[in-house]
């Protein structure tokens, strides 16, 4: 897939016909296919319940698809195999809507725990990197604060720093501003904006349409668990090709 | 292993053991319900009574919840005859069980009554409820729901606690087991069967209580 501006990027992630169901039946994802190029910024939009977040959860191995394949750098990922799952989780990082910081650890500890305790990297180097990341998201003075001492926006920025500390190839952002009070949304979006120019692949699920329009290379519109339309922001927002997309964009742009 | 198991012999004593289980049943049934009724009054007294009443009840509760049931049983069993009160072992054990049960239940009930939220009481107040109406429509339903699980649990604990009656010669389940084991020397088999009967008894009790709770009080309780 190519980026806008003519730079051709190799395909990093490919989803083919992903289908998944709820525990009690009912499809949550219906034959979803998508390719993501290296360094690309893809946003997924759509009404609630369209399966956007679920798609991210499938990628990171929290939900098993009943059908379909996921390929990372051309290699098929078998989510049943521990080694494959480990590999995927080494290279993908996710930030959740509900921050999900470890409540029993300080902000700094949250960021350093995985690189030091799980990946066995050198403590001093990780600590430096963690402090730099926390400073970068504006929390240099909150290193030793516990999650319940931080506001939603602050917690989400720690979650972002935590994900970045893993040096992922692909970063998944699952509605990271949806649980925040309006005044905190911008601080988080600013932090994400900063990433846009670093070459890391981003898959963003969001309701913040202005932001999506601004940073994305391509936008995916989903509804009822299926992909409705894919295209550059100009197409999706200004000239949608499908009626469903037109309806959705029409509704949200009315605000 | 120097022991040969004779389960057949042991199982032949099942009727006798079940007779003992029946004694356990009525001992705990009478004991618990009596204790519960007493505890309701005591709990009300503790929350709404005057300072002297509250302190007396507290002393009683603190005393019985911080001393082993066995020791108070010994006190009653050996002590009362010294002052001329001669009760049968069954009555001694029953009285001891009631005193202990009432203490623990009073504690539990008081916690439940205290947990009625101020806002509910205030809402009732603004709707013009009298004290009696408040009790009936706000306190009792809330307390019943909140307390059902802890009290059911106490009942099970109570059944298991009744085993100490055996020490005083009462022929309830454990007492009967003691007797049979002493006569036949098939200790392991007899005590295993006895343990099994306790497990079954408490499972049945839990299940019935859970079902009653679900239907009458709409309380969701776990059986396992």
């Amino acid at each position: 897939m190519s980026k806008e501006g003519g730079l051709v990027a190799e395909t990093q992630l490919e989803l083919r016909g992903i289908t998944a169901s709820y525990e009690h039946g009912g499809l949550v994802l219906n034959d979803v296919s998508l390719t993501v190029g290296k360094g690309e910024i893809i946003s997924i939009i759509g009404p609630s319940g369209s399966g956007k977040s679920t798609l991210l959860r499938v990628l990171v191995g929290l939900l098993k698809p009943s059908q379909g394949t996921v390929l990372l750098d051309g290699d098929t990922i078998d989510y049943d195999r521990r080694s494959h799952l480990k590999r995927v989780r080494d290279r993908l990082a996710i930030v959740f809507q509900q921050f999900n910081l470890f409540q029993n650890m300080t902000a700094l500890a949250n960021v350093t725990v995985t690189p030091t305790k799980i990946r066995g990297e050198a403590k001093a180097a990780v600590r430096e990197r963690a402090i730099a990341l926390l400073r970068r998201v504006g929390l240099g003075d909150k290193l030793n604060a516990y999650p319940d001492e931080l506001s939603g926006g602050q917690q989400q920025r720690v979650a972002l720093a935590r994900a970045l500390a893993l040096q992922p190839e692909i970063l998944l952002l699952d509605e990271v501003t949806s649980a925040l009070d309006p005044e905190m949304v911008n601080e988080v979006l600013d932090a994400i904006r900063g990433l846009a120019h670093e070459g890391i692949t981003l898959i963003i699920v969001s309701h913040e349409m202005a932001f999506v329009r601004e940073v994305s290379d391509r936008v995916v519109m989903m509804a009822d668990g299926a992909v409705v339309e894919i295209g550059p922001p100009a197409q999706i927002f200004d000239a949608p090709q499908t009626q469903r997309c037109r309806d959705f964009v029409g509704k949200i742009l009315k605000h | 292993m120097h022991y040969t198991f004779q389960w057949g012999v042991a199982f032949s004593y099942l009727p006798e053991l079940l007779a003992g289980a029946w004694v356990t049943f009525h001992l705990t049934f009478i004991g618990f319900w009596t204790g519960l009724v007493i505890a309701v009054f005591l709990a009300v007294g503790q929350v709404y009574g005057g300072p002297w009443l509250r302190r007396s009840i507290s002393t009683y509760v603190v005393f019985f919840t911080n001393t082993p049931s066995l020791v108070t049983a010994f006190f009653i069993f050996y002590g009362l005859p010294e002052v001329g009160i001669l009760w049968s072992p069954y009555v001694c054990v029953l009285v001891n069980l009631i005193l202990n049960a009432a203490a623990f239940l009073t504690d539990a009930i008081r916690g439940g009554v205290a947990s009625v939220r101020k806002t509910e009481m205030e809402a009732a107040e603004t709707l013009g409820f009298s004290m009696l109406q408040k009790i009936r429509y706000v306190i009792v339903p809330h307390v019943a729901k909140v307390l059902y699980a802890p009290i059911s649990n106490l009942y099970i604990v109570f059944i298991l606690g009744s085993a100490l009656a055996a020490i005083f010669g009462v022929e309830e389940l454990t007492g009967t087991a003691f007797n049979i084991a002493a006569r036949t020397f098939r200790s392991i088999e007899i005590y295993s069967i006895t343990a099994g009967i306790y497990v079954i008894m408490t499972v049945i009790a839990s299940t019935i209580l859970a079902l009653v709770g679900r239907w009458a009080f709409r309380v969701k309780a776990r059986i396992f």
Partner: protein, 245 residues
């Protein structure tokens, strides 16, 4: 028995007897502490085993559940006798004190396992998920994330169970262990009035139980304000198997 009054007190209030009571108190406390301590360790192991989703371990998980459910429904008195005759039958002639300790351990493991399990369940599923997506693995998740948070829910009931058991050890007197209850009986047998002998027993149990109970309340109050529970989860579907890994 007209020689009550004076001679009873002469028999009772001696330094040797004081030492006897002291020793008995020590035995009572150590039975409870050893049994509950070991029970806690075993219970933690059992609950950890229960989190394993693999089918191979299904019989093990069922055994754990069966163990917990059964040993929470047997009277301590019956259990002590079972352990006594069981160990004798196996040819193990151990001191009655250890028989009692084993009984306490067996029972405490079952009850504390329930407490620990409730502790695990108090930690939100999303904490497990966050750990899983960063490749924590089950053991690390439990040690680094779940247990530190479950602690606040586990300690108060576990502590009060220990305090309760101090009193329950009185039943060990029935197999002849010279703990507090047995000591009271001894004095009653040699002619001291029931009031004095059992009264002393009562007093010592009370002196052990009441302060510890209040300590337990204080611990509970302190722990309540430890970690506020995280917001909530997105309610999104998760395949159990993968989430727990």
């Amino acid at each position: 028995m007209g020689t009550h009054g004076l001679s009873q007190f002469e028999i009772f209030f001696t330094w040797q007897n004081a030492l006897l009571w002291l020793r008995a108190t020590g035995i009572t406390l150590s039975m409870a502490a050893l049994g509950c301590g070991l029970g806690f360790i075993l219970a933690s192991l059992l609950v950890y085993l229960r989190t394993w989703p693999s089918l191979l371990l299904l019989p093990v998980r069922l055994l754990v559940v069966a163990y917990v459910e059964i040993f929470r429904r047997i009277p301590f008195l019956v259990l002590i006798f079972l352990v006594l005759f069981g160990t004798r039958a196996m040819g193990l002639r151990m001191e009655l004190f250890w028989v009692a300790c084993i009984s306490v351990t067996v029972m405490a493991t079952a009850f504390i396992a329930e407490i620990v399990r409730a502790g695990y369940e108090s930690v939100h599923r999303t904490q497990w998920e966050s750990a899983a997506v960063m490749n924590f693995g089950r053991l690390r998740t439990v040690l680094l994330v779940v247990l530190p948070q479950a602690w606040t829910v586990i300690v108060p009931p576990a502590f009060s169970y220990f305090v309760m058991f101090i009193k329950e050890t009185s039943l060990a007197s029935q197999v002849g262990v010279y703990e507090l209850m047995q000591t009271g009986k001894y004095f009653n047998n040699i002619g001291v009035s029931p009031a004095l002998s059992f009264g002393t027993t009562l007093a010592i149990y009370f002196a052990l139980s009441y302060p510890l109970t209040r300590l337990g309340w204080r611990i509970e109050r302190r722990l309540k304000h430890r970690f506020r529970r995280p917001g909530g989860d997105d309610g999104l579907p998760t395949t159990r198997v993968l989430a727990g890994v």
